[in-house]
């Protein structure tokens, strides 16, 4: 069935459809809905030069392979009752500090492991190991984001026994990681007070997909003349449903709320039927 309008056309299979226009942004009328489903799976035209051409209708998701692998990861995680976070931000917004402090504060409430992605070095992994949690470092080389198959390989290096929470620290980048599903339950986007209030308006795609937005380094807000009302309004424009936290991992501000939130989310994941979509 056609994914967009349910009109009975198969999606992903090359079919020739005259006038089947799915591209109208304003409405969803089927203008010339005559659906001549021919069996040749293509239509052809005569070019002025005399050469015949044919159009192959594809409608393929370009990242179909990553999406499929992400769904496989998701099934693997759900079957284990694991809560999985994909933590995203620009470089230097405080992901590693927040994750280390989260693990320390959660303590025995949630047994946590971390997968951390960087282009190079294992500095973050070494810092995070001080928290006592198992950590796998992925070095992406020149790749500016994590992909689902990198997660699948990294997970093989982790002892999953009794694990409750898997935190994936993505490569510091506010653009590219937004396109890649890793199989996570929640996307957590950080925005530090040193980043500026208008980051959500400048980088809408990543804020749009956030389930939770954390304003980090709150202890520096006065030094930066940070306008908390303005950033809240900007986040609401792009991500109206995201849960908002204001945190200083260093001073401990907001950490209790954040940790309680994770415990509640983990409860919800455990109660979910793994076979539910």
């Amino acid at each position: 069935m056609c994914e967009e309008c349910g009109c009975g056309l198969s999606a992903g299979i090359p079919v020739s459809v005259s006038g089947h226009d799915h591209h109208d942004p304003g409405d969803h009328e089927h203008h010339h809905h005559d659906h001549d489903h021919d069996d040749s799976h293509h239509h052809h035209s005569h070019e002025p030069g005399g050469q015949e051409r044919q159009t192959l209708e594809l409608r393929h998701a370009i990242l179909e392979k990553n999406d499929r692998l992400a769904e496989r990861n998701r099934g693997f995680f759900r079957a284990r009752g694991l809560l999985v976070l994909n933590v995203l931000s620009s470089p230097g917004s405080g992901k590693t500090t927040l994750i280390g402090e989260t693990i320390r504060r959660l303590g025995p409430r949630l047994k946590t492991a971390v997968i951390v992605g960087d282009l190079a070095t294992d500095n973050d992994a070494r810092r995070l190991r001080e928290s006592g949690a198992p950590v796998v470092q992925i070095n992406t080389g020149t790749v500016c984001h994590l992909e689902a198959d990198m997660i699948a390989r990294a997970v093989k290096q982790l002892d999953m026994t009794g694990l409750d929470l898997l935190i994936i620290e993505n490569v510091g980048n506010l653009v590219c990681p937004a396109s890649y599903d890793l199989g996570e339950d929640l996307r957590v986007v950080l925005l530090s007070v040193t980043d500026g209030e208008d980051k959500p308006l400048k980088y809408p795609p990543i804020f749009h997909i956030a389930n939770a937005v954390i304003v980090s380094k709150l202890d520096l807000d006065r030094a930066c003349d940070f306008n908390r009302a303005e950033v809240t309004a900007n986040i609401r424009h792009i991500a109206p449903r995201a849960r908002l936290f204001e945190i200083s991992a260093k001073a401990g501000t907001g950490m209790d709320d954040w940790c309680d939130y994770l415990v509640r989310q983990h409860e919800a994941v455990k109660q979910r039927d793994p076979l539910d979509a």
């Binding site: 192959l56 396109s179 109206p240």
Partner: protein, 115 residues
């Protein structure tokens, strides 16, 4: 700059489909790219020109259709197109969490030699 790897994925699909169709040349490739996909059309175009030489898509035209962000407003019972990418309904101001279009990264069709 993840546009290179995205273009490479698209091109791999194009070359596979051309092979399946028995076509020796690809003349045109059409993509649909949502404005909230996080992908910049110009960067895709640049990657396309760098990646196609030596393949059967060398010299092909890349056409990119940008898909606007379209949200559903439950209160007004209608969809709206967001020009500034804000998720608030322009009529009632209610925030929408229901994006109906705008995240597409799609290889929609291609034109090849008729075999």
């Amino acid at each position: 700059m993840h546009e290179f790897s995205i273009m490479q994925s698209a091109l791999n699909q194009v070359l596979r489909e051309a092979g399946l169709a028995g076509a020796a040349r690809v003349h045109e490739i059409r993509l649909r790219i949502g404005v909230l996909s996080g992908v910049v059309p110009d960067a895709l175009q640049f990657a396309f020109e760098a990646l196609t030489p030596g393949t059967c898509a060398e010299g092909a035209v890349l056409r990119i259709e940008e898909v606007p962000a379209r949200f559903w407003c439950a209160k007004c019972g209608r969809e709206f197109v967001s020009a500034n990418l804000y998720a608030e309904c322009p009529d009632c101001g209610d925030p929408s969490g229901d994006l109906r279009a705008g995240r597409e990264l799609e290889l929609s069709s291609m034109e090849v030699d008729h075999v």
